[in-house]
Subunit: 205 residues, 2 copies
Amino acid sequence: MNFPSKLVEKAAENLSFLPGIGKKTALRLVLYLLRNEKKYSIGIGQSIIDLINNIKFCKKCNCISDEEICEICKDPKRNSHVICVVEDVRTIMAIEGTMQFNGHYHVLGGLISPMDGIGPEKLKIRELLDKIEKKQVTEIIFALSSTMEGDTTNYYLFKKLNEFNIKISSIARGISVGNELEYIDELTLGTAITSRVPYENSVSN
Amino acid sequence: MNFPSKLVEKAAENLSFLPGIGKKTALRLVLYLLRNEKKYSIGIGQSIIDLINNIKFCKKCNCISDEEICEICKDPKRNSHVICVVEDVRTIMAIEGTMQFNGHYHVLGGLISPMDGIGPEKLKIRELLDKIEKKQVTEIIFALSSTMEGDTTNYYLFKKLNEFNIKISSIARGISVGNELEYIDELTLGTAITSRVPYENSVSN
């Protein structure tokens, strides 16, 4: 593309590196920023710079945080002996939204994915083992995506953790609430049948 | 959503104001920025700030530019007596890409759209009339979108410009190059028939 301005070109090029934003969308965003109030558009740029310069990672759970220890790890009302293993902060936000979990989290920072060159050594697995070795943990819950990478990571962690005398569980896989059976894929329905639970346990809350 | 960090919340909220970016996408972008190299993520924020602080609007054509007068208006090889009226810089980039136009442009900065509260007074129409009154112009070409707003703006401009003794034209509407006739909508095909051109004119280049 033949840009009328080097500033526009640079901003559009930078924005087009973001996932899901192509060259045309980037130009649309730049024009939108130019049309908008100056204060507001500068605020967007400044909030990105502030974010990168000031963000911290919680020393306990590795979650992104404004301070050395995150709000969840600091909360004395939460059970620090139950740890839910997640990929990133998005899962934490989703689980917190359910208000069904009162333990701590451990953020792996990714999933094992040989295709993308991510081996176990790139994830925060050593830190998880440290916590367990210090005998601070009674139960580990895996809450990873139901994908090839999630399953691989689950299996790797299970092998590593199995030698310790702790309870290891994974979040349940089955049919979603509100789903009609005839539209569910075979794998999910198969898992739901083999993982059936006593009826009195299946009615939540 | 319950954000683990005020910095993340602010950046995600700011990004979610951009068109086409919702709350979940904004959070995905923020996490992507955090995962990436620091220098590169800060570069994105900084290029937005630089853009807003340093961008200018060409004093002749109103197009965004790095200097007081844009590259196109400065070019002595271009014909300043033919002015192509466009909505914004994207049309200029598209027309420049065709390499079929050697005149100047005039950017309106929008289209008349009563639904969005944009009347003619919000567009750079006065500046266009000034150029014509100074007798610098021999031909005006409308290159606006083929939408209700584009047609309204075309009609309004035509009424305003008709009193001057200049040639007024609009870019041709008809079937796109490569289109098969049976799939073309009726309005376009109807326009293409009523706007038929002598065969020797229809073969471009």
